[in-house]
């Protein structure tokens, strides 16, 4: 009886140490590898997305580490090396306290992830809808994107500016609302470095919002299969200063 207890406690101690080490490794990888593997961030939405990836990875590290610790220990220590069918192991049919702790633990972890995710979801659009919000109409068609900018009294005399099969230009630090639609089949409108994505659907308008917070050139890629040239339905976003954006807009030819 005592020897059985000693083996069990030795197993628990060894697994515990293994667990701590693996968790530490997992946490380090989560913190350093995640941002390195993901695209740079050009909006707060993307920033929070990357942060969520890191936090979820850190939260998952002890779970995965525990499973791997037990499995590695079992493979090293509980492996039967004799010939033929091994003798029976101990008859452990249940362990109610352990089961309760396990279920409560996983529920608590899930609740944490939910609270984090739901509050992020609620705060996601808090900067949007203000007076300075600019609306851009996005139209997908096989296999290009076109963009329509609002009229601005000073430059366009009330006529919206349309740009087809060209890049998207956005002013920095200005909340943007995209009204997205399609001329033929579903497309997926994704600005890779801004963490927003919405389907472009024929005869339907879907919306998404983002505030670019960094100057630079970023990528738009289609994320819904849309036929032959789906993989070539890509374009660029150029985030300009507000002044440079106004100048660019003023220089655009009018389309009727």
């Amino acid at each position: 009886m005592t020897s059985e207890k000693t083996t069990t406690s030795r197993a628990i101690v060894t697994i515990g140490i293994l667990w701590v080490l693996l968790t530490a490794a997992g946490v380090l990888v989560s913190i350093y590898a995640t941002p390195w593997l993901m695209p740079e961030s050009a909006s707060n939405t993307m920033h929070m997305g990357i942060l969520t990836m890191i936090i979820f990875s850190v939260a998952a590290a002890p779970v995965a580490a525990l499973v791997y610790a037990v499995v590695l220990y079992a493979l090293a220590k509980w492996r039967y090396t004799g010939e033929g069918i091994p003798p029976d192991g101990p008859s452990l049919r249940a362990n109610s306290p352990l089961t309760m702790v396990w279920i409560i633990g996983s529920t608590a972890l899930t609740l944490f992830l939910l609270v984090w995710g739901l509050s992020l979801l609620a705060s996601d659009n808090s900067g949007q809808g203000g007076a300075n919000e600019m609306t851009v109409n996005v139209t997908g068609q096989q296999w290009l994107w076109s963009f329509q900018y609002p009229s601005t009294a000073s430059t366009q005399n009330g006529t919206p500016v349309s740009v087809s099969n060209e890049d998207l230009y956005l002013p920095v630090n200005t909340p943007i609302k995209f009204n997205v639609t399609s001329k033929d089949v579903d497309h997926g409108f994704w600005i890779v470095q801004m963490g927003i994505k919405i389907n472009a659907i024929p005869d339907t308008i879907t919306t998404t919002e983002v505030t670019p917070n960094k100057l630079g050139d970023y990528d738009i890629r289609c994320t819904e299969i849309c036929g032959l040239n789906h993989s070539y339905m890509t374009t660029k976003v150029h985030v300009l200063t507000e002044k440079a954006f106004s100048n660019w807009l003023a220089a655009q030819p009018k389309h009727f």
Binding site: A11, T34, L37, M38, P39, M46, G49, T52, M53, F56, A60, V63, V67, Y68, V70, V71, A74, W78, Y80, I85, P86, D88, G89, P90, S91, L92, R93, N95, L98, T99, S106, T107, L109, L113, L114, G117, L121, D124, D184, V185, D186, G188, W190, G195, K197, I198, N199, I201, T206, T207, D219, C222, T223, E224, I225, C226, G227, H230, S231, Y232
Partner: protein, 621 residues
């Protein structure tokens, strides 16, 4: 009342007992083709060739002709035909149908013996996996380097659709097909399934669906991916009609099979086999079958409505005419998410069964594990819209669906608890089936955790539609379900053949598939994190290295699967003899002789305890 069959009184059925005794797979193929041609000819003659959807109408009617002809040709309706004409099946007829003394021939015809059906399902699963795997190799070869055009974009997109659907069908039947048929009736102490003829019907209906799915490639393919999203599915050529008819046929097959499994478990248990003494694999198969009965009707409906839009001029999914593509997506995912658990649960059940036997331990927390599986099944019907977070449909429902989706990690955690608890302090016997259990645990933790990221809407807005999603569900389907299916095959192979699956080749195959899976899909995670959308035939050079690594990994998986195939074939007749119970298991299927006789039991057993009495001093077994 005993129902022991007196075997000696039944002589081998002679040929000449009516035409139906000459029906087999060959006559089914011939009848299928003949009926298809007749149906095509009738459709061409009678329908208005200028009408909207004419080619779709012809294709659908031809497909119906094929399925009906095939079923008639295999003899699926001969018994009911006799019944309608007032003649009952004689005992000799029943014995003929069960394949008594028919040798190899019974595997090529409409045979009702559940063990024959199980073996037929093994072969069908391998064909599906082989065809789907070849298409996967085509896809990966095309993605070997940026701008590589191994196949053109139309063919590439068709490969995506058909690879996806072939593999989904393969995995739906991979464990439930062979083992819920071969093993479950013996496990519950029954002489056969509750409805043996329906059992054979479900198998041959599945077989009838496969040429339709492959045929869709031959008639021009379809470039909408396996989710058949409208309106791209309406733009697709007639390949889509065959694709959809294959699925409609398949749903009939799974529904029939599911009803049969549930009825068998509910009504055919032997004396003393209470619900609490059922082996966990029986629970897993039954829960999965029940979930399938909920899920697959949506599959039938979504494909039927889609075909109807194309051939009848309806507008269920056409926004400009009053429908909406969101309806298609809702219906599809109402099927699509429960289906994941229809696929996963039997694999989990088989692995739990293997774990108790090879750790020589009782299943840890039997009731909790049933609750966990039931919880998975229950929650899985409430999460479908997490596939639609970025479609713009009902943004207000995002939060609730995020809650239900993340709650799934609680019952999933229970599965891990049961696995680890069963391994705890066991005497772990590292034979071939156990390798796949450890592979499953390692892969499933990755597949499970990466699912949690995707359930979070702010993260999903970034990750949806990327290779990250593809890598996630391949960790679940390949890394977990396929590992479970192969583990089950290695475990029950001696019961089917009386011989061990070659241990050395099996282990080589394990390491190739395990390493290949992790190389392929870890690299694919990186492609996705860096921003590579899924279903791209060509990509920017920034994804070059990770894609090359994924392609090499995929070849390694293929090599491993070929080694496994070699082992399955070579061990079938030449493997090391195993005897009836080589693993020292306590479930009923191991306590009957090998090969298992027709009707399984000489005398039906009486059960006094569950099969997990490892380490318990009891005399009765």
């Amino acid at each position: 009342m005993t129902s022991t069959i007196e075997h000696s009184t039944v002589s081998a059925p002679a040929l000449g007992g009516g035409i139906y005794r000459r029906l087999n797979f060959g006559t089914a193929l011939i009848a299928g083709v003949v009926f298809a041609v007749i149906a095509w000819w009738i459709a061409h003659s009678l329908l208005d060739s200028d009408g909207r959807g004419f080619s779709d109408q012809v294709m659908v009617i031809t497909a119906v002709g094929w399925v009906v002809g095939f079923e008639l040709g295999i003899g699926a309706f001969t018994s009911i035909g006799k019944w309608f004409t007032g003649r009952d099946q004689t005992h000799a007829d029943e014995m003929y149908l069960a394949g008594k003394d028919a040798g190899q021939a019974r595997y090529w015809r409409f045979t009702t013996d559940h063990k024959v059906v199980g073996v037929q399902y093994i072969v069908v699963t391998m064909i599906l996996l082989g065809a789907g795997g070849l298409l996967a190799m085509g896809i990966r070869t095309n993605l070997l380097s940026p701008g590589n055009h191994f196949v053109n974009q139309q063919i590439y997109n068709s490969f995506l659709s058909v690879h996806g659907m072939l593999m989904i069908l393969a995995l739906i039947v991979a464990v439930a097909g062979p083992w819920a048929n071969f093993v479950v009736p013996i496990m519950v102490g029954a002489r056969d399934m509750a409805f043996p003829r329906l059992n054979a019907l479900s198998l041959w209906t599945l077989v009838a669906a496969i040429p339709l799915l492959l045929g869709s490639l031959a008639v021009g393919g379809n470039d909408m991916g396996w989710v058949t999203q409208a309106p791209i599915s309406n733009q697709s050529g007639v390949g889509f009609d065959l694709f959809a008819m294959a699925i409609i046929t398949f749903t009939v097959s799974t529904t029939v099979a599911g009803v049969n499994t549930i009825c068998t478990v509910l009504t055919m248990r032997t004396k003393g086999m209470t619900l609490e003494r059922l082996p966990i694999f029986v629970w897993a198969s039954s829960i999965a079958a029940a979930l399938g009965l909920y899920a697959f009707p949506f599959f039938l409906v979504v494909m039927s409505l889609n075909i109807s839009d194309r051939m009848n001029g309806t507008s269920f999914f056409i926004a400009s005419e009053g429908g909406t593509g969101w309806l298609q997506e809702n219906l599809f995912w109402l099927m699509g998410h429960p289906e994941v658990y229809v696929i996963l649960l039997p694999a989990v059940g088989a692995l739990l069964e293997i774990t108790t036997v090879f750790a020589r331990k009782p299943l840890f927390s039997y009731r909790t594990s049933i609750a966990g599986m039931a919880g998975l099944a229950g929650l899985s019907v409430l999460v479908w819209a997490h596939h639609m977070f970025t479609t713009g449909w009902a943004p207000a429902l995002g939060g609730p669906f995020m809650v239900t989706t993340e709650m799934i990690s609680i019952p999933t955690g229970i599965i891990f608890l049961v696995l680890l608890g069963t391994l705890w302090r066991g005497n772990i016997w590292m034979r071939l089936p156990m390798y796949w259990v450890f592979g499953f645990i390692s892969n499933f933790i990755v597949g499970g955790i990466t699912g949690i990221y995707l359930s979070d809407i702010p993260v999903d807005n970034q990750m949806h539609g990327t290779m990250f999603v593809v890598a996630h569900f391949h960790y679940v389907f390949v890394g977990s379900v396929l590992f479970g299916a192969i583990g089950a095959l290695c475990f029950w192979y001696p019961k089917v053949t009386g011989r061990f699956l070659d241990e050395r080749m099996g282990k080589i195959s394990f390491w190739l598939v395990f390493i290949g899976t992790n190389v392929t899909f870890l690299a694919m995670f990186v492609s996705g994190l860096r921003g590579m959308p899924r279903r791209y035939s060509s990509y920017s050079s920034i994804f070059e290295h990770t894609n090359a690594v994924s392609t090499i990994g995929a070849y390694v998986i293929m090599a491993g699967m070929l080694v496994l195939l070699g082992a399955v074939i070579s061990s079938w007749n030449k493997g090391e003899p195993s005897g009836p119970n080589p693993w020292g298991s306590k479930t009923l299927e191991w306590l009957v002789p090998t090969p298992v006789p027709l009707e399984n039991f000489e005398v039906l057993p009486v059960i006094t305890e569950d099969p997990y009495t490892y380490g318990e001093a009891r005399t009765n077994s």
